[in-house]
């Protein structure tokens, strides 16, 4: 097998902030140093690793830094990583929308890239005219479009409206038509950014099927960026994990996806006493440690098929104190999804310490959220230590943040966006009446 894409030492720096008079003076300085004095670019040296959440003093950041990889002909490769990891920048460079700062890319074969569905669609033009326009923008010759026209219309399923201006289309029809054009590009290499996030479930399935056919059946090389691990697993044999602009891992998709899920991406998984910011304190009980843990120990990234343990360690400061540990589970936007505590009638287990007067000392309460219960999303947790008369209590609001990711186990049949704050497995049965 020979390689289709070869990436060598690829880097890209971006300038942050506003462009104004100050930028001009820096541009002049840069030009002076590199072109006139013949030295190395000063801003390349100070360029920082691109971590979104830490504040930077520099105006220049590396969006990609020293990327090296090779893709063989006919491979379908997924590119995964958090927002800002450099996925889009990589695709933009490979699609020649922007050029790298250093390094080079060698490509064998014609590249068609789909960073957006329906680029260049003109609302006033009819579906037919837009097929030709969009096809031409994506690099098709008129003859090629003539040849595939019927297949495009057929795939899109908007035959009835083909001579209607697309501004009268529903957004679903619009996307269908646009994807149909892209799906019929005749190129050896196809680069696809997260475009399946649009359209209804039925159509998403069709798109995934088509992409599968392109990579597996037709033997073309596919590069695919998605946040949906399900689609990546379904489509790609190999994957590249990007982190802060560098390649963190590269290999079989299954391994890489697991690695991605286990990457502690969002804040810490464990907070010690001095790190816990209290919204309210209680004089006779205090938090010692709050953490989340899963199958592989302390973490805040979970698979959907994993039990999530929320552990609260606390110290009771006087004898005969009754404490009810309690938590709230919130969604990413702060809406409370549920509240729970260890009360006997609200507990799947029987907690021997429930409502018992405690002696001085340290205690640990664990709340387990079952596997296949939460959705593919981020969640927050607030923790409480509630004494018998609930007038005063220790409160640590939204102290924990964890993420739950797709593994594909609940995704055998449906590949579309799955709405809902939670996603428990339910009991279903159909009978004939």
């Amino acid at each position: 097998m020979s390689s289709a894409i070869q990436v060598e030492n690829l880097s890209k720096i971006y300038q942050l902030g506003q462009f104004g008079t100050k930028t001009l003076s820096k541009d002049v300085e840069r030009w002076w140093v590199t072109k006139v004095m013949g030295k190395e670019d000063p801003f390349l040296k100070i360029g920082e690793v691109n971590t979104r959440d830490s504040k930077s003093s520099q105006d220049w950041v590396y969006s990609l830094k020293d990327i090296n990889f090779e893709i063989e002909q006919g491979d379908a490769v997924g590119i995964i990583g958090r927002n800002g990891a450099g996925k889009s920048t990589l695709l933009k460079i490979l699609s020649r929308v922007t050029s790298p700062t250093t390094g080079r890319v060698n490509i064998k074969g014609r590249v068609a890239s789909l960073l957006e569905v329906g680029t260049g669609f003109h609302p006033e033009l009819t579906g037919r005219e837009n097929i030709y326009l969009n096809g031409a923008i994506l690099g098709m010759r008129k003859k090629e479009i003539d040849r595939t026209f019927d297949a495009i219309v057929d795939f899109s399923g908007v035959e009835r409206y083909i001579d209607t201006p697309v501004k009268r289309y529903s957004s679903g029809m619009y996307v269908r038509l646009a994807f149909a054009v892209a799906a019929h590009l005749e190129s050896e290499i196809l680069i696809v950014d997260e475009v399946l996030a649009v359209g209804d479930a039925d159509f998403q399935k069709k798109c995934l099927g088509k992409m599968g056919a392109i990579s597996k059946g037709e033997g073309r090389t596919v590069l695919f960026v998605s946040h949906s691990m399900a689609s990546i697993i379904a489509l790609c044999r190999k994957s590249i994990l990007l982190q802060n602009g560098s390649i963190a891992a590269l290999g079989e998709t299954g391994t890489i996806v697991n690695r991605y899920i286990n990457l502690s991406g969002i804040g810490k998984s464990e907070y010690m006493e001095h790190e816990i910011i209290l919204n309210q304190a209680y004089e006779w009980a205090k938090f010692k440690t709050i953490r989340t843990s899963g199958n592989s120990g302390i973490t805040n990234s979970f698979s959907i098929n994993e039990e999530i343990k929320i552990e609260i360690e606390y110290e009771v400061l006087r004898d005969n104190e009754i404490i009810h540990p309690s938590i709230h589970l919130l969604d990413n936007l702060g809406t409370t999804i549920l509240a729970t505590f260890n009360g006997t009638s609200a507990n799947l287990n029987k907690d021997p310490f429930f409502s018992m007067p405690l002696s001085k000392g340290n205690y640990k309460s664990i709340c387990s959220i079952p596997a296949f219960f939460l959705n593919d999303a981020n969640y927050k947790v607030s923790c409480f230590l509630v004494p018998e008369n609930a007038s005063k209590m220790a409160i640590a609001k939204e102290i924990l943040l964890f993420s739950v990711s797709e593994t594909g186990e609940m995704r055998q049949e449906f590949h579309g966006g799955w709405v809902g704050l939670i996603r428990p497995r339910m009991a279903w049965m159909t009978s004939k009446l």
Binding site: Q6, F19, G103, R104, V105, A136
Partner: protein, 283 residues
């Protein structure tokens, strides 16, 4: 070992030689150019009542206003030509140049969305603008010819000359000069937008520095050389000489405009090619 044998179809590198202009690639995308022209044309008059008639309305009304203001109020010379014909000739030619420069000078800003999402030779976009405007110019030339016919039948004093043979050259100069200047301006405005403000009223002022509303022959002697420095002056003069028989046409002035146009075009394409590679990051 095997790798050395691989012939890459495409190599992406940070910088590219300034003088690489990939004509083969441009040619491969010619269908796209045609589609852009068609899009501009079709979308121009869709959902209008008058449709393509709008192509005529603008020059007719501009001419009428010029006849009223410069002809009737200011009594400016039209070299003995019918005023309507004199102004219409100037406006038709000037409009083409002016449209070419204003539209191409905005090409990066106006197409940032599409340029940021898909690759095609960027030069296709300004070229399609030049061609779209050419179609429009052709339609407006019809208006000019009909007006000439009308005034001819009325016995007005004008005649076409041998210089009509220069028509293709004149149109090319207007197109390429507009293109060259437009490319330079659009390249300079991707990071610093100052120049965009200039172009809007600059074109207005430039028109007065060109012989659109007065003949070069009536310009005061001491300003004449300055006005003649404007490469568009000789074009408009030659244009008028070709169609109406009045205007100053010298070999030198045409050579001067041609030369300047080529310089602008070369610089324009070079800076455009250079800007095109990274402008998405700064616009």
């Amino acid at each position: 070992m095997e790798e050395s044998k691989v012939e890459w179809d495409l190599v992406i590198e940070p910088t590219q030689s300034l003088f690489v202009l990939n004509f083969r690639e441009l040619w491969r995308y010619r269908d796209l150019l045609a589609m852009f022209v068609k899009r501009d044309f079709v979308s121009f008059y869709k959902q209008t009542i008058l449709g393509p008639a709008w192509f005529f309305i603008q020059p007719i009304f501009t001419t009428l206003v010029f006849v009223f203001v410069f002809g009737n109020l200011a009594h400016m010379s039209t070299d003995g030509l019918p005023q309507f014909l004199f102004y219409l000739t100037g406006i038709t030619a000037w409009n083409y140049f002016s449209d070419c420069i204003t539209k191409t000078s905005n090409v990066f800003a106006a197409n940032a969305g599409i340029f940021g999402k898909v690759y095609f030779p960027r030069l296709i976009m300004p070229l399609s603008i030049i061609v779209s405007n050419l179609v429009r110019f052709g339609v407006q030339m019809l208006l000019l010819l009909f007006t000439m016919l009308y005034f001819g039948l009325k016995g007005a004093d004008f005649h076409i000359t041998w210089a009509l043979g220069l028509f293709p050259l004149l149109v090319s100069i207007m197109a390429l000069l507009g293109l060259g200047l437009g490319l330079i301006i659009t390249s300079l405005t991707t990071k610093y937008k100052d120049l965009t403000f200039l172009i809007a009223f600059g074109m207005q002022l430039l028109m007065y520095a060109t012989t659109v509303i007065y003949p070069l022959s009536s310009a005061p002697e001491r300003y004449k050389d300055i006005i003649a420095l404007n490469p568009m002056t000789s074009i408009i003069e030659a244009f008028r000489f070709a169609f109406l028989g009045k205007g100053e046409l010298t070999l030198w002035s045409i050579c001067y405009s041609t030369f300047l146009t080529l310089i602008c075009l070369i610089i324009g394409v070079l800076v455009f090619n250079r800007t095109e590679r990274n402008f998405v990051d700064t616009i």
